[in-house]
């Protein structure tokens, strides 16, 4: 077991709040949502587990010392990715493909999918094909396939989650750039800062630099 403080990246004399903040930051970083359909989901899951254990241990130690603290570990991605191709979603016609994807045998899964004739390609087929392409890094076609799966079966929660995920990624929620969201120094601008900056820009025309401390 590695030193839990090292895992959390805080000194042993950090306050409870600092420990909690460090834990939250790491939990966000390795959150299964970031690794849905990624071939690295298992590695992120291990990291998440390590972070959860470290945090639990620190909290336990501190509670025994009577310094308080509350436990609340986030879920871990485990080994299968957060959508879990468990096949328990009601009458899956592609059990074999799901278990191949779960085992990381992407090209075998793809081979079976490609062997399905066009008339047998239902919403689930498009969803699984998208999942396979996504792992290979063919994000564009994966996006199109998830979207097709949702169109064919709009009520399916699994497909909608996958489609929502890629849509959010495209909008820059997981890194990148969104022209409709103001960015200042990568920390995300608040509305107040934005308006002050606009005011500052206007003021600059008249030679003033009014809010040098902002943003």
């Amino acid at each position: 077991m590695p030193d839990p403080y090292r895992v959390l990246g805080v000194p042993p004399n950090a306050t409870d709040e600092e420990v909690k903040a460090a834990y939250r930051k790491l939990a966000k970083k390795y959150h299964p949502d970031n690794y849905a359909d990624s071939p690295l989901a298992d590695l992120a899951g291990e990291k998440m587990k390590e972070v959860n254990e470290a945090y639990d241990q620190v909290v336990k130690e501190r509670r025994n010392r009577g310094t308080g603290g509350r436990s609340g570990p986030y879920g871990s991605a485990g080994t299968g990715g957060s959508y879990g191709y468990t096949g328990g979603t009601g009458g899956s016609g592609f059990e074999d493909v799901r278990s191949l994807i779960n085992a990381g045998r992407i090209s075998d899964a793809e081979q079976i999918l490609d062997g399905v004739p066009p008339e047998g390609r239902n919403a689930e087929w498009y969803f699984l094909k998208g999942a396979v392409l996504y792992r290979r890094g063919w994000l564009e076609e994966a996006y199109n396939d998830f979207s097709a799966a949702c169109r064919m079966d709009p009520s399916n929660v699994e497909y909608r989650a996958a489609y929502a995920q890629v849509t959010n990624q495209r909008n820059g929620m997981y890194g990148g750039y969104n022209p409709n969201v103001p960015q200042y120094g990568g920390f995300g601008g608040c509305d107040l800062c934005t308006s002050l900056c606009v005011a500052d820009l206007c003021c600059n025309c008249f030679g003033g630099d009014m809010y040098p401390w902002c943003c």
């Binding site: 071939p39 890094g137 997981y174 960015q183 990568g186």
Partner: protein
């Protein structure tokens, strides 16, 4: 064809001064290595993308940072600058990649241009070819990966209706293999480290290819050159400017999606003190590049660092 040069940079305003100095130090070391191994003219091939590759390799070293030492700059002998003295061959590896890519760029320019331009492009050809042969002798695996990728790129662009993913695949696959083989030194293939490196390289290569394609869209439409986004949106010289705007917005979404995966891979990397530079590039520098190249009318900051 991809023009692998200059999209992958840090956002300078967000680097600490010592991080910026370390970055400069690696840049200078690259320049020195190019000059020493491939002749003074090879320094002209120095670029930000291959410098990032060197920074990435150095950041993944388990031992503490390599030494930095001060020396005279070849471009300006009056100036003294610190440069990185890495002993593990990381900088030499990146310099070889620079030369190999430069050679294929010249080849590509030769095949794409008209007669008079051809004469112009022929000038650097012998020197670049000599340098490339030398790099290929020292790094045969790297040379093979690069030339395979260029071949597959030409095939992809000759296809009837290639998708965006298919067009990006050769460049993405090239960097995936390059990064994976860099990780494999001392690690068996399929190790967690090699898998993370591979995904990182794949997404980085994909991002570079798509960024270049989106950036060149307007020019390619005008000249009729191949462009995957023009194919996807059926844009030609007669299309309205709004069509190009729309395609750029779409390209931005595709780039964001790629960055989400790149960032996920970067978060799993164990990095030393150079790590913040790599993270700066991935989380700030590349989005900044999208903003500057796709949404700004005048491209001021993107041209020089």
């Amino acid at each position: 064809m991809v023009d692998l040069f200059g999209y992958v940079r840090p956002r300078k305003s967000e680097l600490l001064v010592r991080e910026w100095e370390a970055y400069r130090g690696v840049y200078c070391a690259m320049c020195r290595s190019l000059g020493k191994n491939y002749g003074a003219a090879a320094k002209l091939a120095l670029n930000y993308d291959c410098t990032f590759y060197a920074v990435f390799l150095l950041s993944a070293l388990p031992k503490p940072l390599p030494r930095f030492q001060t020396g005279r700059c070849a471009a300006n002998p009056l100036k003294k600058c610190p440069f990185c003295r890495a002993s593990g061959g990381e900088v030499e590896n990146a310099a070889a990649l620079t030369v190999l890519l430069a050679y294929h760029k010249v080849l590509d320019d030769l095949s794409d241009s008209g007669m008079w331009e051809k004469l112009l492009h022929l000038l650097p050809y012998p020197a670049v070819r000599r340098a490339c042969r030398k790099a290929a002798r020292s790094y045969p695996e790297l040379a093979k990966i690069v030339s395979d990728a260029m071949e597959r790129q030409r095939e992809a662009e000759r296809m009837e209706d290639p998708g965006i993913d298919l067009c990006a695949e050769p460049t993405a696959g090239m960097l995936a293999r390059i990064f994976e083989s860099a990780a494999a030194a001392g690690n068996e293939a399929g190790s967690p480290r090699a898998r993370i490196f591979r995904r990182f390289g794949y997404c980085l290569g994909r991002w570079i290819y798509l960024m270049d394609a989106a950036d060149d869209l307007a020019d390619d439409v005008r000249t009729g050159a191949f462009n995957p986004f023009a194919v996807r949106f059926r844009i030609d010289a007669r299309s309205a400017p709004q069509e190009i705007e729309r395609a750029r917005g779409y390209a931005n979404g595709t780039l964001n999606q790629t960055l989400s995966q790149l960032g996920a891979a970067a978060n799993l990397l164990e990095m030393n003190e150079l790590g913040p530079i790599v993270r700066n590039v991935v989380f700030l520098g590349l989005p900044q590049m999208q903003k500057e190249l796709l949404f700004k009318k005048e491209k001021t900051n993107a041209r020089s660092l």
